[in-house]
Symmetry: C2
Subunit: 160 residues, 2 copies
DNA sequence: GGTACCGTACTCGGATAAGCAATGTCCGAGTTCGTTGGG
DNA sequence: CCCAACGAACTCGGACATTGCTTATCCGAGTACGGTACC
């Protein structure tokens, strides 16, 4: 089980936008050169964020991406769902009723598969933690450890 | 992000062994026909459980797999780790220090990446829930919903 | 000098390949059990 | 009738294809800006 690295890229891009703080669009090329990432593929991930309503894109020259809502309103769950999709990691194929089990009365399968329920419980705990943390929280934690990072990013993006 | 379906197969196989309860080995072919699964590939997954110390295998005719320890001592975390490996789903590539950020003083990177920490927190919650549930719990839940299932499985595997 | 027009550079957006891990398949080493021949 | 040797069937275990998804790339539609010609 491996999460797409696009999630990391998206989170860093969103964090950068949170640091910049203004409404001036940032193009993909700038994000990409900032972290040495493949431009076109990063753009694909940012498009997913637009479709999910986390970013707003403006086409054409001087275009780019802007946060669609304040960083406090963007949770990690939103980002992971936007990039990875909303499907669960564990997908019960209901193999209990394949094979000989198929002859059992349907009444026995009224309740959901116990294995599926157990995995769902674990995955819900994961989602709950993701939903409890926002981009603003990430920024606060980063600022606490490295107060200069925000300023350096602003400089590099031509602000001030 | 998608979990291998081998996890579901492994859990069902372990649950079956818990239902049987004796020390009589069950071959892969029986598990496979029981849930209509590809025999050789299922065997690959069961081998992983052997390597992880969850199953004991006996080769040759009348051979097969047996639980290596009681169901109360086998957690879902054990099974997921055995099949999926112990690596985290989110793997921080530390892209914060790639590109222009590389010129920043190393002192700023002493603390772990805030994004990595946040994702780690969520994943720990997931693992905690997985470690809190055992094969015995799964069996108890399944028995509560469908008391006849255990008996039917025992019959089908030639017990009694 | 001011204004309208045009060309260029730059952006997102989606359609199109390449790489790799998960999935699936096959064959060999080893063990058990039934059979068969001899004592 | 009893026993030993043998062969066949069955099992795990690892090496070898194949499929699907992640990753990566390319090109087109659209927009803003700078230059230029004209009024």
């Amino acid at each position: 089980m491996r999460m797409s690295e696009g999630v990391e890229w998206a989170l860093h891009s969103l964090l950068t936008l949170a640091w910049l703080g203004d409404d001036q669009p940032v193009p993909t090329a700038r994000f990409a050169s900032g972290h040495d990432l493949p431009k076109a593929y990063l753009n694909k991930q940012l498009q997913a964020l637009v479709r999910a309503g986390l970013l707003t894109s403006t086409p054409g020259a001087r275009g780019g991406y802007v946060l669609a809502r304040p960083p406090e309103k963007i949770t990690l769950m939103d980002v992971v769902t936007a990039i990875e999709g909303s499907e669960r990691a564990f997908r019960c194929a209901d193999i209990r009723r394949r094979g000989p089990g198929a002859t059992a009365p349907a009444r026995e399968y009224a309740e959901p598969c116990a294995i599926d329920s157990a995995m769902r419980r674990a995955e819900l705990a994961w989602r709950r933690e993701l939903a409890a943390q926002t981009i603003a929280d990430i920024r606060a934690a980063a600022d606490a450890h490295a107060p200069n990072a925000a300023e350096r990013v602003r400089r590099w993006h031509g602000r001030d």
